[in-house]
C-alpha cells in the first residue's frame, strides 16, 4: 500500500503517549468506568505498536496479535462491566476508593 510513509518512531511515540495517558488515567481516576476506559486505551496503545511494527517489518504477526488483543479487550470489558454492575449494586457508587474492604 502506497501512501503516507510514517516513520516507525513516530507511531511508537504515539503509542507510548497513549500508554502513558492510559496509565495516568488508571492511577488518578476514581470512577471504575473511567478506569476500565483507561485500561482500554492502554490495550489499544499496545495494539497500535504491534500493528505498526508488523507493517514496518512486513510481517503478518503484528496484525494477528492485534486480533488477539482485540478479543482480550472484548472479554475484559464483558467481565469488567459485570463487575461494574456488582460494584454499583453493593456500594451504591462507582467510586473505587469506597470499595476498599479487602485489606490486610
Amino acid at each position: 500500500m502506497d501512501g503516507l510513509d510514517i516513520p516507525l518512531n513516530h507511531i511508537l511515540f504515539i503509542s507510548s503517549l497513549l500508554f502513558a495517558i492510559g496509565m495516568l488515567g488508571l492511577m488518578i481516576r476514581r470512577n471504575i468506568i473511567f478506569i476500565l476506559m483507561s485500561l482500554e486505551v492502554m490495550l489499544n496503545s499496545a495494539a497500535l505498536a504491534f500493528v505498526a511494527a508488523g507493517a514496518h517489518w512486513g510481517q503478518p504477526d503484528g496484525q494477528v496479535v492485534f486480533m488477539l488483543i482485540l478479543t482480550v479487550a472484548a472479554a475484559e470489558v464483558a467481565v469488567g462491566l459485570g463487575l461494574v454492575l456488582q460494584v454499583q449494586k453493593r456500594f451504591k457508587t462507582l467510586d473505587m476508593d469506597h470499595a476498599n474492604r479487602m485489606q490486610g
Binding site: N9, L12, M23, L26, M27, I28, R30, I35, M96, D97, A99, N100, R101, M102, Q103, G104
Partner: protein, 617 residues
C-alpha cells in the same frame, strides 16, 4: 501343706483387691473383719507351715506358674521356702496380724477406713512375695510393691501437703537405691545367665574366685539397694520423715518389716557376698557408722515417733554390722527381736498419740505411768529390749552381734567399740523417752483409754519382746557356720554392763536430775552440737544444697525452654514480616496500580542500567 504355700501371699492380696473394689459399700465392722482376717489366715497358715518345718526340716520349692519366657530366661512366680523364709514370714504375718488388729481401733474414726486396710493388706502381700521369691526378679517385684505401699501409706493423710512431701521423699530416695539394685541384677544376669537365687549362688562360686572385681561390683550395687530400703547412710533421710503416716503403719512398715528387707536381701544373697570380702567390710562400716549417727540424733529429738525412727535406723545399722562381719544368723535374729520390740514401741507410741489428742512432743506428755498402765509396761519392756538389758530379747541378739564383730580380725575390736558406744547411747535415749513420757509432771491428760484391740497386741508383743531371745531361729542350714572360738570373758561382761550404765546415766540425768546437764546444753558448743544432732547431722540440709536446690535451679532454667528460643525467633520474624506486608494490602485499587507502576518503572530503569541492549528500540 507345701501345695498351698502360695495361699499365704494370696490371702492378703485378695483381701486388698476386695477392699479396693467394694470398700465403699461395706460396713466399717466388715471392713475391719476382712482386713484383719486375711492377714490372720496367712498367719495361721504360716504357723502350720512352721510346725511342719520343725518336724522335717524340708526345703520347699513351688512353681505356681511361669511368669514369662524369653529364650532360656524363664522367671517364675515361684516360691522358695527354707528356715530364713520361715523366720521372715512369721515376723511379717505374725507381727502384721497384731498391727492390723491394733489398727482397727487406732483408725476407728478415720473416714478412709477401707483404703487404709486395702493398702496395709497389699503391703503384707508384697512383703511376703519379697521374702518368698525364689528368683531375684520376683523379689524385685515384691521390693517395688512394698515401696509403692510405703509411699501410699506415708501419704495416707494426703490432705496435708507435708505428708505428700514426706511420701514423695520416701519414694524417691529409695528409688535411688532401687535403680542401683536393678543394675546389680542386670550385671548378675549378664554374667551368670540366671536370676534364680540358689542356682545363682552355686554358679557364682564356680565362676568367680574370692575377691574378684565383678562380684564386688554386683555386691556393692545390691548393697546400694539394701541401703536405700533399710534407711542406712547415705540414703537414710527418708525414714524420719516417713513418720508422717499413721503410727501402726510406722510400726509395720518402717520398723518391723519393710526396712529390714535390705538385711534380708544381703542375708539371702550371702553366697555372693562371701565372694566379695571388701563388700562385706563396706556393709559393716556403713552399719556401724549409721548406728552411731542415728543414736546421737535420737538423743536430741523431741518428737516421740522421730526418736523411734532414728532408733530403727540405728538398730538396722547393727543388723548391717552383723551381716558385714559374717554373723548372718545373728543379724537375722536381731531382725526378728527388733521386729518384736520396735513394733511394740511404735504401737505403744500409737496408743499414746491416740489417747493424747495426737500429741507428738514428748515434753508435753509426762506422768503417764499411772494413767496408761498397759502402755507404760509396753514401753518399759520395749525400751529394755531396745537398750539390750540382760534377759530381754534385744540383749541376746545384740550381744551375739557384738561378740562376733569383736572376733573379726583387724577391724573387729574397733567395730566392737563403736557398737558398744552405740549401745550406750541406745540405752540413754530409750530411757530418756520412758522417763520423760511416763514419769514426772503430767502435762496433758489422756481423753480415752486403750481398748482390748489395742491392749491385746501390746500384751502379746510385750511377751515376745521379753522371751524372743530364747527362740532358736531355724537358719543353721541356710548360712555357713561362723565364729568357732569364744572371746575372752571380759568382753562379754563389758557388753552386758554397757546398757546398764546407759540406763543409770539416763536415770540420773532425766529422772533423778542428780547430774545437771544444764551448763553443758546452754554453752555455745553444747547448743551447736545439740542443734547438729537435732537436725540429723545436717544431712538433710546438705542434700538440699547439693541435690534439691541445683535441680530446682536447673528446672527453673529449663522451664523457659532455652532451645526453643531459636525456633520461636524464626516464627516471630515471619510474623513481623507478615504484619508489615499485610499493611500494604489497603484494599484501594488505585494504590495497587500506583505501586505496580512504580515497580515497573524501577524494574525498567534497573534493567536499562544493568545491561545495555536490553531495551533497544
Amino acid at each position: 501343706m507345701s501345695k498351698i504355700i502360695w495361699l499365704i501371699p494370696l490371702m492378703p492380696f485378695v483381701g486388698s483387691i476386695t477392699l479396693m473394689l467394694f470398700g465403699k459399700n461395706l460396713r466399717r465392722s466388715h471392713i475391719g473383719y476382712l482386713g484383719v482376717s486375711s492377714v490372720g489366715i496367712s498367719a495361721l497358715l504360716t504357723a502350720l507351715l512352721a510346725i511342719e518345718f520343725m518336724q522335717n526340716q524340708e526345703v520347699l520349692e513351688t512353681l505356681v506358674w511361669t511368669w514369662m519366657q524369653v529364650g532360656s530366661f524363664a522367671p517364675g512366680i515361684s516360691f522358695y521356702f527354707d528356715g530364713l523364709t520361715l523366720v521372715m514370714m512369721s515376723v511379717i504375718t505374725g507381727v502384721g496380724f497384731l498391727i492390723h488388729l491394733f489398727s482397727t481401733e487406732f483408725m476407728e474414726e478415720d473416714p478412709s477406713y477401707a483404703r487404709y486396710f486395702a493398702y496395709l493388706n497389699m503391703f503384707v502381700a508384697s512383703m511376703l512375695i519379697l521374702v518368698m521369691a525364689d528368683n531375684l526378679l520376683l523379689l524385685y517385684l515384691g521390693w517395688e510393691g512394698v515401696g509403692v505401699c510405703s509411699y501410699l501409706l506415708v501419704g495416707f493423710w494426703y490432705q496435708h501437703s507435708a505428708n505428700g512431701h514426706a511420701a514423695r521423699k520416701a519414694f524417691i530416695v529409695t528409688r535411688i537405691g532401687d535403680t542401683a539394685m536393678a543394675l546389680g541384677l542386670l550385671l548378675l544376669f549378664s554374667h551368670l545367665g540366671t536370676l534364680d537365687i540358689q542356682v545363682l549362688m552355686g554358679k557364682a562360686s564356680q565362676v568367680w574366685e574370692v575377691g574378684e572385681n565383678i562380684p564386688l561390683i554386683a555386691c556393692l550395687l545390691l548393697v546400694c539397694g539394701a541401703v536405700g530400703k533399710s534407711a542406712q547412710l547415705p540414703l537414710h533421710t527418708w525414714l524420719p520423715d516417713a513418720m508422717a503416716g499413721p503410727t501402726p503403719v510406722s510400726a509395720l512398715i518402717h520398723a518391723a518389716t519393710m526396712v529390714t528387707a535390705g538385711v534380708y536381701l544381703i542375708a539371702r544373697t550371702h553366697g555372693l557376698f562371701l565372694l566379695a570380702p571388701d563388700a562385706m567390710i563396706v556393709v559393716a562400716i556403713i552399719g556401724v557408722v549409721t548406728s552411731l549417727m542415728a543414736a546421737f540424733t535420737a538423743l536430741m529429738q523431741t518428737d516421740i515417733k522421730r526418736i523411734l525412727a532414728y532408733s530403727t535406723i540405728s538398730q538396722i545399722g547393727y543388723m548391717f554390722l552383723a551381716l558385714g562381719v559374717g554373723a548372718w544368723s545373728a543379724g537375722i535374729f536381731h531382725l526378728m527381736t527388733h521386729a518384736f520390740f520396735k513394733a511394740l514401741l511404735f504401737l505403744g507410741s500409737g496408743a499414746i498419740i491416740h489417747c493424747l489428742h495426737h500429741e507428738h512432743n514428748i515434753f508435753k506428755m509426762g506422768g503417764l505411768r499411772t494413767r496408761m498402765p498397759v502402755t507404760f509396761w509396753s514401753f518399759m519392756i520395749g525400751s529394755a529390749a531396745l537398750a539390750a538389758l540382760p534377759m530381754t530379747s534385744g540383749f541376746f541378739s545384740k550381744d551375739q552381734i557384738l561378740l562376733q564383730a569383736y572376733q573379726l580380725p583387724d577391724l573387729g575390736p574397733g567395730l566392737w567399740m563403736a557398737g558398744l558406744l552405740g549401745a550406750l547411747l541406745t540405752a540413754i535415749y530409750s530411757f530418756r523417752l520412758v522417763f520423760v513420757v511416763f514419769f514426772g509432771e503430767a502435762n496433758t491428760e489422756p481423753d480415752k483409754d486403750t481398748e482390748w484391740r489395742m491392749a491385746i497386741p501390746l500384751s502379746i508383743l510385750c511377751f515376745l519382746a521379753l522371751i524372743g531371745g530364747y527362740f532358736t531361729i531355724p537358719v543353721v542350714d541356710v548360712f555357713p557356720v561362723t565364729g568357732g572360738s569364744h572371746p575372752a570373758h571380759w568382753v562379754e561382761y563389758v557388753s552386758i554392763s554397757v546398757p546398764i550404765v546407759g540406763l543409770v546415766i539416763a536415770y540420773f540425768v532425766f529422772l533423778n536430775r542428780r547430774i545437771n546437764i544444764e551448763t553443758l546444753t546452754t554453752s555455745s558448743f553444747g547448743r551447736g552440737l545439740g542443734n547438729l544432732w537435732l537436725s540429723g547431722w545436717g544431712i538433710d540440709w546438705l542434700y538440699d544444697r547439693l541435690f534439691v536446690r541445683p535441680y530446682y535451679r536447673l528446672a527453673n532454667l529449663l522451664k523457659s525452654e532455652p532451645v526453643d528460643v531459636i525456633y520461636n525467633a524464626i516464627v516471630e520474624l515471619n510474623q513481623l514480616l507478615n504484619l508489615w506486608l499485610s499493611k500494604s494490602q489497603t484494599g484501594r485499587l488505585r494504590w495497587y496500580l500506583v505501586s505496580m507502576v512504580a515497580g515497573l518503572i524501577i524494574l525498567i530503569s534497573l534493567a536499562s542500567n544493568l545491561g545495555p541492549g536490553v531495551l533497544q528500540w
